[in-house]
Subunit: 415 residues, 2 copies
């Protein structure tokens, strides 16, 4: 058994929010407050920026009822951040500052909740602390609607976003087909390099109420093939529903959303292009080629914050992942990310496993080619079998006065 380590815990949220990242926060904070070895629990304002700025809240002042409400409160209650740490070898300023703050507050446990970039941050901090000989147990808690973290069966946040996308697609399917005139509806779904979210529209198609065509960023997008696909369905039925990933690129690596637009494109702190507007771009091409009515629909932020339509499986797993991170750290684990391993068998069951942060950081998990159909415009049953269990169960916030009641944290800076 690992030796006991007594000290303060810091917890931060990072990257794009999800419907269930606060469920993980609830798990981490409630479990940390219960652990004897953890003497104080600080919630970081805006992730690692909260360390750098010494800006964090003492979680012991929060009401348990509000911490429980975090399970159904979307977005990152502590605030998030997109801040890329330099390589410590090139510039260790931030790392020294983090070490200074950790020492000042006796931080012996650090939990970081995020996606690919956040796991990179988490890994870098972990390695620097090891190198510095400062004992601090560092654990990553996965979160991303993109579902692209390496080594885990799936990521908290994906199930709820997938449920939202599938449900909304089924609803749009009903709506878009209501007239006896032709229509092409193009649904734009988030996902930069991995098509997991867009693929979720196939869950609607599996019920007979979903897209005719699905385009993922895993395959190069060919405009001529796309237009031919659309025309083929249109000529048969007069109604075409398309789901397409915002990150779709052509074979030269050019984002399709950049075709023929003059929108000034932004890049975020990680150098990722700010996407969006693809549905409108494609709608323009379809309009010109097919000539019928075309609807461009973007799920936009709605798909990642729709806590009113959460997957209970997802919420429970996100909470469990948070608790597991704390328990394992107290038991001696460090430098790991909590991950899920699906148990084989008829009934869905996932166990917690731990992955080395090294093995996770800066890797992306994409949709296996064998789950994509030969035409490259749809998903096969393998994907449905994978994704369907993840959207089971209904989670929604309590309703007060007809509207959701989200958690209200006091955020008291009693340090």
């Amino acid at each position: 058994m690992a030796k006991r380590l007594v000290g303060t815990c810091m917890f931060g949220q990072s990257g794009g929010p999800t419907s269930v990242i606060n469920a993980s926060a609830s798990g981490v904070i409630q479990e940390a407050l219960n652990q004897n070895d953890i003497t104080k629990v600080y919630g970081l304002a805006n992730g690692i920026k909260g360390i750098l700025d010494e800006n964090f809240y003492n979680m012991e002042h929060e009401d348990i009822k509000e911490l429980d409400l975090l399970k159904t409160t979307p977005s990152s209650a502590l605030g998030s951040v997109r801040y890329k740490l330099a390589d410590a070898d090139a510039d260790d300023t931030d790392y020294k500052r983090i070490l200074e703050v950790f020492k000042k507050y006796g931080v012996r446990y650090f939990f970081y909740n995020g996606g690919n970039d956040s796991m990179d941050t988490c890994n870098k901090i972990s390695k620097f602390m090891q190198k510095s000989g400062y004992e601090c147990r560092v654990m990553g808690v996965p979160k991303t609607i993109d579902n692209d973290l390496f080594g885990t069966d799936h990521c908290p946040g994906y199930g709820s976003a997938a449920k939202y996308i599938a449900t909304s697609t089924m609803e749009v399917y009903q709506d878009a087909r209501v007239y006896d005139t032709g229509i092409v509806a193009i649904l734009e779904v988030m996902g930069r390099n991995a098509g997991w979210l867009t693929a979720a529209a196939a869950l609607a198609a599996d019920k007979g109420l979903g897209p005719d065509l699905i385009y993922l960023p895993e395959l190069p997008f060919n405009m001529d093939k796309f237009l031919a696909d659309v025309k083929k369905v249109y000529e048969k039925t007069g109604k075409v529903i398309v789901a397409v990933s915002e990150g779709t690129k052509d074979k030269n690596g050019t984002y399709i959303s950049e075709y023929g637009t003059d929108t000034a494109k932004q890049k975020d702190a990680f150098g990722h292009s700010q996407l969006g507007g693809l549905a409108y771009t494609l709608a323009g091409y379809v309009k010109k080629e097919v000539g019928c009515k075309v609807r461009a629909i973007e799920f936009s932020l709605l798909q990642r914050c729709a806590a009113h339509l959460g997957s209970l499986t997802d919420v429970n797993e996100a909470f469990m992942a948070g608790r597991a991170a704390v328990r394992h750290a107290v038991d001696g684990e460090t430098d790991k990310m909590v991950a899920f391993e699906r148990v084989e068998g008829c009934e869905y069951k996932c166990n917690i496993k731990l992955l080395d942060l090294n093995s996770v950081a800066n890797k992306e998990k994409k949709i296996p080619p064998e789950w994509i159909n030969e035409e490259g415009n749809g998903l096969k049953s393998g994907f449905i079998e994978y994704a369907l269990p993840l959207i089971q169960g209904e989670s929604r916030p309590p309703v007060e006065d007809g509207l959701p009641r989200f958690a209200k944290l006091k955020k008291i800076k009693d340090l």
Copy 2:
């Protein structure tokens, strides 16, 4: 008491679908099937086009369970239509055809479910039948997310759309403010001439989780004032949430969505411009003026088909309106639209009243000026008191396999 009239009933759905138009269909069909004086119940495929084309379904073959499921099935299950009848004086071809079909099938009851344009259609058919001396009781059943029908306290469809908009706005509010960097998020809401839907975002603001600024089509939009408003909030808080109606126009009557865009604009059969893209247009202006990150979010079709987030009050009233139309017609009423009258008092209660179709057709109800704030960028408490009762109660379809189970009609053409 009016004399008994025995014969066939025809029912059609028309105009843009809503989350609850099928709840009215359920009310009409189930009530009509129960009435002794109604010998057959036909559901029209695509509204009045179903009459012209003799394309309709015999509703007695439908399972009661599926007719009940219509209450939580979005969009128009029988199919909708946007078809403008000519003035009978100018061209009575369509009217003669309708009369011919009514006579052929012994149609003595005609129920039409729709908004402004549909009530115009309903009124014209009613008047032509009267003029022709053909006895047919004609009743309009109101439906529109736009809430702009004249003479009724509110319209079925509005409460659910308002609940969706308010809830989603609260969720987006949580999400858009998550970073410690500046952001302006612009939410585009449906509504051509009346701002009821956009105003629903004020329900979120009333909970402290909504837009800072709301722009309605009731007032002329001034770009300079808008940009000054945004900058003022931005300089104070660094976060600005704006809700704006797609139909916003400047003082010259030009749609703001048409500013600086090269998108080919379409017009529908009623000569209305096909709107959309306003959020992006405004985002461009804000980006240039304020320079921060800007998000353009369109609720698009989602706001009118999100049955998973219906208002139970709305669903129940939509069903009740359908039943009332049938009962009143059997009792002898004709040439009327079913409407709601709010009972004064602390607790919300609405009674059914009947309005002359003449008094409803081609009129629009807008937001009273006294509910709009002095700055013209927000709503006052009068609106909240009006709208809040309409979003109460939770309605959602039964869930099977993690996804909504919508009604499946057989649509048998046994005539």
